[in-house]
Amino acid sequence: MRGRFSGYLFASPWIITFGLFWLFPLLYSLALSFTDYRLMQASYDWVGLGNFVRLFSDKSFLLALKNTFIFVFGTIPFTTVIALILALLIEKNFKGRTIFRSGFFMPSITSMVVIALIFSNLYSRGGYLHILADMIGLSPPENGFLLSSKTALLSVMAMDIWMSVGYYMLLFLAGLKSIPGELYEAAEIAGAGFFRKLFSITLPLLKPVALFIVVINTIKSFQVFVEIFVMTRGNYNTSTAVYFVYESGLNRFEFGYASAAAYILFLIIAGFSIIQFRLFRQDRLT
């Protein structure tokens, strides 16, 4: 009994923190999502599913949701494939490998705000990327990549891919290290070439790592905010779901409405995560 009590005592800092700063806000915001609560408002009413109905007829929210999906499906495949290719290249022993490995990982440990500001300059009129695109005949938007509805979101996505690949490359490297070397030796004895080994050994055994990467990248990408906040402030059709929540909650102080939007996003992320975990489980069973 005493042992159990001391166990709870030791766990209490986490339990209290969890309850106070995670569980309570989570449940409280769920309750708020069914009300018309606004800051400064003396009273508020229960509106049932009113906020959710309003959201699905709100053009700004639908656009934000659409942009979020474009961001998720437009970045994850590229991030994953590029990270895998880099991991395969860097895994081999060659001189200066550490420099490349550190170089690719560097953006992942740099502040997102710093990167976003640097890229804002690179993308602007007269910025290096703008000049480069002009030189190779890509005819970039006259006023810069971030000041055009056609290129702003794509530009933020490209930056996100550049920034994320290093981290996922490291995860792939860890996965590659865990593949037993004997499998490759046996394959080589059997006369397998590079691609045969890649498709028959490397990729199947990397599947759990790849799925893990896809899951965490999906969650992260659905929550994209800082890049949008720093680079475009949601202008030029770049508003995303979390940015919408921020605008509704912290600019307009419509906490009930913002909570409802946050819960829709939560359900979407939860849905995707469940699907991906099921795939992961199936993979382990087979």
Partner: protein, 412 residues
């Protein structure tokens, strides 16, 4: 046992003494809390001196200043109102007064300041439902800045000033022809809270408006709005550098833009950085001279929950007095005091640029004092963004924006 009783008795006596002392310790001293946004080292000492002088001449008053930033000041004020911890006096942006008045967070000061109204500019944003909730302090309007060197190269002599849209169009087009990296006009990117301020003056110049005076009907969809946006879009598409306000100002100062719309902060920048640029300021033209500009500014309000309302209003009157506004404007190189007497001072009248700002202020207007302005602004900016950057049909966007604004009004 006896010792225990003596000790307990002593403790109780000491505690009672402390309580009595703490209650009467202020000797009738009233503490006023003031949240304000001026943190610039150039101006903060002036504000502190004003406060120190006030405390010295009003021994019973103690003013406590808290600095806010424009990045999150609005959020802090909303949270303070919601949690009942708002200060006595608050500096507010002109767009916020209606929002806080509507939510019963500000004290009406109509009776106390009604006699002052004739002596000050810019009351409209401070009035909600026919009650005065905020006192105008430092106002800010926008004027036209023209690079004289570029205008001269384009064939305009130094006496030239654009007095109507045709003149403005002409000089912008001609400067734009000067070279590849030279632009006639500086057109704003889709920056929130900025873009509409550059487009709406062209509507106001024709006496157009967004909602009716009684606040019941949206009248944004009009020929005047379409004409205003058509003119701005023509400049935007044909002869403009399009960028953020800061970058446009940089380009103007580097001699790459001929004409931009900007505020007194640009004058301050030119002065503080000692920039050698040959420029002039002039009134924003209308289709036929004169035009109108946008005006916003800083307002001082008293919290509804304040226990020292009367003292707070007296302090506001002191801060907005002629002497203090002059001291403030000189320290900050601000062009638009709300105090009319201050605006007539030689400091403004002898400076040709500051004089233009004072004149423009008399021909400026605020969008509309409504608690829903934050939503209306969003709708208008979205429509303008679609028109300028996505080539959406002007009339369609304007009529759609109008119907959204009307829906908002009806839902209130």
């Amino acid at each position: 046992m006896k010792n225990v009783k003596i000790t307990a008795g002593s403790i109780i006596l000491i505690l009672c003494g402390l309580i009595i002392l703490s209650c009467g310790g202020n000797g009738g001293q009233a503490k006023l809390t003031w949240w304000q946004f001026w943190t610039d080292p150039a101006i903060k000492p002036t504000i502190e001196k004003m406060v120190a002088d006030y405390e010295a001449t009003n021994p019973g008053i103690d003013i406590e200043i808290t600095d806010l930033t424009w990045a999150n000041g609005h959020e802090k004020i909303v949270v303070a109102f919601s949690s009942g911890t708002a200060p006595d006096i608050i500096e507010l942006g002109s767009d916020w007064v209606a929002e806080f008045s509507y939510n019963n967070q500000l004290a009406s000061m109509t009776k106390d300041v009604i006699e002052d109204t004739a002596g000050f500019f810019g009351w409209t944003p401070g009035i909600y439902n026919n009650e005065i909730y905020a006192f105008p302090w430092i106002l800010g309007t926008r004027v036209l800045f023209i690079n004289r060197d570029l205008a001269r190269q384009a064939g305009y002599d130094d006496r030239f000033i654009p007095v109507n849209w045709e003149d403005l169009r002409g000089v912008c087009y001609d400067i734009n022809k000067l070279g590849k990296d030279i632009y006639g006009f500086g057109s704003n990117a889709a920056e929130k809270h900025r873009l509409y301020k550059k487009v709406l003056p062209f509507l106001w110049a024709q006496d157009g408006t967004i909602i009716t005076e009684n606040g019941k009907y949206a009248v944004f969809a009009s020929e005047k709005t379409i004409k205003a946006i058509e003119f701005y879009k023509e400049l935007h598409d044909s002869c403009s550098m399009v960028d953020t306000q800061r970058r446009l100002e940089d380009a103007f100062l580097e001699g790459r833009i001929g004409v931009i719309i900007s505020g007194d902060w640009l004058l301050k920048r030119i002065k503080n950085e000692g920039l050698k640029i040959n420029f002039l300021t002039t009134l924003i033209p209308g289709p036929n001279y004169p035009g109108k500009s946008f005006v916003g500014g800083e307002y001082l309000a008293v919290s509804q929950a304040s226990k020292n309302k009367e003292k707070a209003i007296r302090f506001i009157k002191y801060i907005t007095s002629k002497e203090n506004q002059l001291a403030f404007c000189k320290a900050n190189y601000s062009a638009n005091p709300s105090n009319k007497e201050a605006a007539r001072d030689p400091f403004f009248m002898d400076d040709e640029n500051l004089q233009i700002f004072v004149k423009q202020l008399e021909m400026s207007r605020v969008p509309c004092a409504t608690p829903q302005w934050v939503y209306i602004e969003d709708i208008i900016e979205k429509a303008i963004e679609d028109i300028l950057f996505n080539d959406a049909p002007i009339a369609d966007e304007v009529y759609e924006a109008n119907s959204e604004i009307q829906k908002l009004i009806d839902s209130q």
